[in-house]
């Protein structure tokens, strides 16, 4: 470390941290206040009479089935992560290690479509999903998102970086490509697979524009469109809205804490998901 005075240095770092963390703490504290206290001027920091009434309101309303939304979010995000791992790892393995006609063409097509902004696809995809009978179902949230190119690029790159010796040894012992893929390549790729799983899960969990237009029934909603409903239904009953936001935040913040390395790794290597 170059010469800096530790006290000044850490004051700056901690001051900055407050800017990022304080709003999130405020969300947490507000969820346990009464509606009156949440909007009191001057504001109270800690709930004077901590209450879970916001959560009771949320759970008690048939029009805002938050637990159902939570479950749907878990299903959609997990489903998509699993699907992405399966299809992207197979395609990436073929693109990295197998020789076949049209390989460059396929890879080139995937690259070319990176220049298509996602909003262009929304309207035709709405019609395609409609044709498949997937409107207002979780399938609409699980499958189309798995078409993203990020997983294929990311894993292909990782596979190319693996030493070939182990695969060649397996080949000499008579293993076929599927055995090499599942017993040699995949086990060596656990960190990359974990990174991709976490990134896919987060992206799907947070998706907003797509679910608000392809889901219509409250019981099929995931949390993000659910929050938009809460904001419309409870306008200034902020503890209820913050309770909903908390339910949507806790799982991803926990996931980030446990898998921070994978999230940051995925982002710094890629940024391709935009």
């Amino acid at each position: 470390m170059r010469r800096v005075r530790p006290v000044a240095w850490y004051t700056v770092l901690i001051g900055l941290s407050l800017i990022f963390i304080a709003p999130l703490v405020w969300m947490l504290l507000t969820a346990f206040k009464t509606p009156g206290e949440a909007t009191r001027v001057p504001p109270t920091v800690f709930p004077q009479e901590p209450t879970t009434s916001a959560f009771d309101t949320l759970m008690g309303n048939d029009q805002t089935p938050v637990l159902r939304w939570f479950l749907n979010s878990v299903l959609a995000a997990t489903g998509q992560a699993v699907l992405v791992l399966a299809v992207a790892s197979m395609a990436a393995y073929a693109l990295a290690r197998l020789e076949f006609r049209g390989k460059r063409l396929i890879f080139g097509m995937i690259i070319a479509t990176l220049f298509i902004p996602s909003f262009v696809l929304i309207i035709p995809n709405f019609l395609i999903v409609d044709r498949l009978g997937w409107l207002d179902t979780l399938w609409a949230l699980i499958v189309p998102g798995a078409a993203g190119a990020f997983g294929v690029f990311f894993l292909r790159q990782f596979f190319l970086s693996l030493p070939r010796e182990l695969e060649e040894a397996a080949l000499i012992e008579g293993a076929n490509s599927w055995q090499i893929f599942t017993r040699v390549v995949l086990p060596l790729s656990k960190p990359a697979l974990a990174t991709l799983a976490v990134i896919s899960f987060l992206t799907n969990w947070n998706d907003f524009i797509w679910p608000i237009y392809v889901l219509f029934s409250p019981e099929v909603f995931t949390l993000p469109p659910g929050l938009a409903i809460l904001q419309g239904a409870y306008t200034i009953n902020y503890p209820v809205i913050m309770a909903g936001a908390l339910v949507a935040s806790i799982p991803v913040l926990l996931l980030f804490m446990v898998a921070q390395r994978y999230v940051i790794e995925g982002v710094s290597r890629s940024g391709l998901k935009g």
Binding site: R2, F20, I128, L160, N206, L227, I236, V252
Partner: protein, 309 residues
């Protein structure tokens, strides 16, 4: 994006040349690619073409007939007497204003943070995680959260600040809110990418610069910035594209307020296509916006290349 990929592609080719191709059945490789390709073809390739087809029709989702109208939907966007002209260009300029205001901040502030985090000190990983944390949350969470914090009458921001401002209901405050929230939310993303770029700059270059004399600024200009170039190109293009994609913040925080001034292009396109179900017109708008973004991206690429010479 493309530059980044090109570099990786080259690295890949070199490695491949070193090894022998695997012997497999002629069809086997296609079986590996097939599941992904089926999803990719259905939800990327097909819609990219299908969207163009839709844009050439008077495509109303709710009506049985979808007559072919040629380029009418595109012409309407340039015809000041058409029903969509005013709203469309208002939304395009909203997206433009947001992009112009947010991109410089999203380029500069994360760079400062990355430079701070590039030093070695105890707790570095912890602070990196803290600054990145808001980005992990979705736009829905940060949207409803900041709607609350910025509430002109009841929000924390006005309670803390000496004056009080209509953060979500009047200009220019609404823009300040949208840009500020976006910077707060996404800054960690660019910072992490910068940081990865900074860590790739060889230490010897800094040592050489120090021996040459010249201050911190010279070091930054002659070592750090040139070293960051490839990363910088990606960050600039990506940040512009993401800002031009802005949707959720306006949807939840200002709801387009004061009137429709902060309704972005994506918001308007979604409104026309997926609420009013005028899909032909909305598809045309989305392709026009795409062309604008391609031109801007090409311009940025050229700018970076000219600096090379």
């Amino acid at each position: 994006m493309a530059a980044d990929l090109a570099v990786r592609e080259q690295a890949g080719t070199k490695q491949r040349a070193a090894g022998r191709p695997r012997r497999t059945g002629a069809l086997t490789p296609y079986l590996y690619v097939l599941p992904y390709f089926a999803v990719f073809a259905t939800f990327v390739l097909a819609p990219a073409v299908y969207g163009l087809w839709i844009s050439l029709h008077d495509w109303d989702y709710l009506l049985p007939g979808k007559p072919f109208v040629g380029l009418d939907n595109y012409q309407a966007l340039f015809d000041s007497s058409s029903a969509v002209f005013d709203f469309f260009w208002e939304s395009m300029s909203a997206t433009g204003i947001f992009t112009v205001l947010s991109v410089p901040l999203l380029l500069a502030v994360p760079l400062l943070i990355a430079l701070m985090l590039n030093r070695s000190f105890p707790g570095r990983t912890f602070f990196r995680a803290v600054y990145f944390a808001p980005y992990v949350l979705g736009v829905a969470v940060i949207g409803v959260l900041w709607r609350f914090l910025l509430d002109p009458n009841l929000g924390l921001v006005n309670a803390i600040l000496p004056g009080s401002a209509p953060w979500t209901t009047a200009l220019p405050w609404a823009w300040i809110s949208l840009v500020g929230v976006t910077v707060w939310w996404t800054l960690g993303f660019n910072a992490v990418i910068y940081l990865a770029g900074l860590q790739d700059i060889p230490r010897e270059l800094y040592e050489a610069a120090r021996i040459d004399g010249g201050g911190k600024w010279a070091e930054f200009r002659h070592v750090t910035l040139p070293g960051l170039r490839p990363v910088l190109l990606f960050v600039v293009v990506n940040t512009i594209l993401l800002s031009a994609n802005m949707f959720g913040q306006s949807y939840l925080i200002t709801q387009g307020a004061p009137g429709t001034e902060t309704r972005t292009a994506i918001m308007y396109i979604a409104q026309v296509g997926l609420r009013d179900y005028k899909m032909g017109s909305a598809a045309a708008m989305s392709y026009l916006l795409t062309v604008c973004l391609l031109i801007i991206s090409a311009f940025v690429f050229r700018l970076f290349r000219e600096k090379d010479a």
